[in-house]
């Protein structure tokens, strides 16, 4: 078993499509909150396999998309310092800040490096002791442990030039905020890899409080179709609970080693999400015990005034209240090669998914 091909079996996908049609009577709105699902659903043409009364929405599951322009502007300000090397995951370099991007700064001579892993960033820092290395820590529960490992590694080797600029966020507060805003969502296609780390129990309160169907899903077409079947069944029976479809990687309690590490280094703080504003305890800040690795505390920079792009509806797209196709900029002035807003930049953004694969 290779854990990919088996879950792309066309006959199973079609069998599940048939079963969904058979059991689905009520109109339902299902939202996914993971950029990986956004892309997979479009790429595999999942909506075309479903009855028209099952609507699929994309939510705030793309970390690059929900991150503020202010964060990009501050990263740009760090990049402009001659004594700083920026290390980042690739998604971030093309995201527009108010007046610049990290890619733009790089072409002006800034030292901006794309890394695959935080360990690469540690390596760059150790080879450049005369420079401060700022790693842009972005991502949800899945990615936060990688940043925690980097801080612990820096501490272990006594490094004094590694700094993390955290934009790490947690998913459940955003999932709750959408419901609080009155957006109609009957069930969530739960984020598979966030939950690999965090564990299925994380959503229990959410499911109970809002009577939401939540099924944690894998990323192959069979996974997604089975998840939709499970959600529809819960909704038809009016018994919403948390279930895990992605059982080969997700447990109820998650990855305890990773969670312990994250809790050692980070603590919840209020954070801003595009489309949703400031959500209580939805971000992850670095604990004071590790303040010497906190870029925000150790490297002071002047950050330019935030300017949001005119006409961009990324914030509404992230809430599922408007489709990328409703945006006047979509496919005209805003394309993946020349993006106006974050939802078009990221290869996990809904706008880019619609651009590449259609409705």
């Amino acid at each position: 078993m290779k854990f990919v091909d088996e879950f792309r079996d066309k006959s199973l996908v079609l069998e599940l499509a048939g079963k969904i049609r058979k059991i689905s009577k009520k109109p339902v709105v299902l939202m996914e909150v993971c950029g990986g699902h956004t892309m997979a659903i479009r790429r595999f043409g999942i909506p075309s396999l479903l009855p028209s009364h099952i609507r699929l929405l994309s939510g705030p599951g793309c970390p690059v998309c929900v991150t503020s322009r202010k964060y990009i502007d501050q990263a740009v300000a760090y990049a402009r310092r001659k004594d700083v090397i920026i290390a980042t995951y690739g998604d971030l370099v093309k995201v527009p800040g108010s007046t610049s991007t990290l890619a733009g700064e790089r072409s002006e001579g800034a030292d901006v490096r794309v890394v695959y892993s935080t360990l690469d960033a540690i390596e760059i820092a150790s080879r450049n002791p005369e420079k401060s290395l700022v790693f842009l820590g972005i991502g949800f529960e899945t990615t936060t442990p990688s940043s925690a490992i980097a801080i612990k590694e820096a501490q272990k080797s006594g490094m004094d030039n590694f700094f993390l600029f955290s934009a790490h966020k947690m998913m459940p507060p955003a999932m709750a905020a959408l419901i609080d805003e009155g957006i109609r969502i009957d069930g969530y296609i739960g984020p598979g890899h966030v939950t690999t780390i965090a564990g299925g129990n994380m959503y229990k309160e959410l499911a109970e409080k809002y009577r939401l169907a939540i099924v944690i899903s894998g990323f192959e077409p069979v996974d997604i179709m089975q998840t939709i079947y499970m959600l529809v069944k819960q909704i038809e029976l009016d018994k919403p609970v948390v279930e895990v479809q992605y059982r080969r990687a997700v447990t109820a309690s998650g990855n305890l080693v990773a969670k312990k590490l994250v809790n050692e280094v980070f603590e919840p703080r209020d954070d801003w999400w595009r489309g949703l504003g400031i959500l209580k305890d939805s971000g992850m800040g670095i604990k004071s015990a590790f303040a010497r690795y906190d870029a925000e505390k150790q490297i002071k920079v002047e950050v330019e005034k935030t300017i949001e792009p005119k006409g961009c509806i990324c914030g509404e797209v992230l809430k599922g209240t408007r489709s990328p196709l409703e945006c006047k900029l979509f496919g005209k002035t805003c394309t993946p090669s020349s993006p106006v807003g974050a939802c078009m930049v990221s290869n996990e953004g809904a706008c880019q998914a619609f651009y590449r694969y259609g409705d």
Binding site: M1, T143, L237, A258
Partner: protein
């Protein structure tokens, strides 16, 4: 960002391992997982193994789909 892919562990050297992802060999940190052995599949995210992938559970998932029998569901 949360993209993770299954890879087969082919070599372990302390906290680091090499894994094959569809034939491409990648370095994987084992900082977040216990008890990984050569031959195991792990989910790889930003250079770290997030979790061992369970073959037993994968087979069970596929079995469940094949066993979905509509008459078992009273409401239909």
């Amino acid at each position: 960002m949360c993209l993770s892919i299954p890879g087969k562990v082919i070599e372990i050297d302390g906290i680091m391992a090499k894994a094959s992802v569809g034939g491409t060999i990648v370095n994987v940190g084992l900082h977040l997982v216990d008890d990984v052995r050569v031959g195991d599949y792990v989910l790889i995210h930003t250079g770290f193994a997030l979790q061992k992938v369970s073959e037993e559970e994968a087979l069970e998932t596929l079995k469940l789909i094949k066993e979905l029998q509509d008459p078992d569901n009273q409401i239909y």
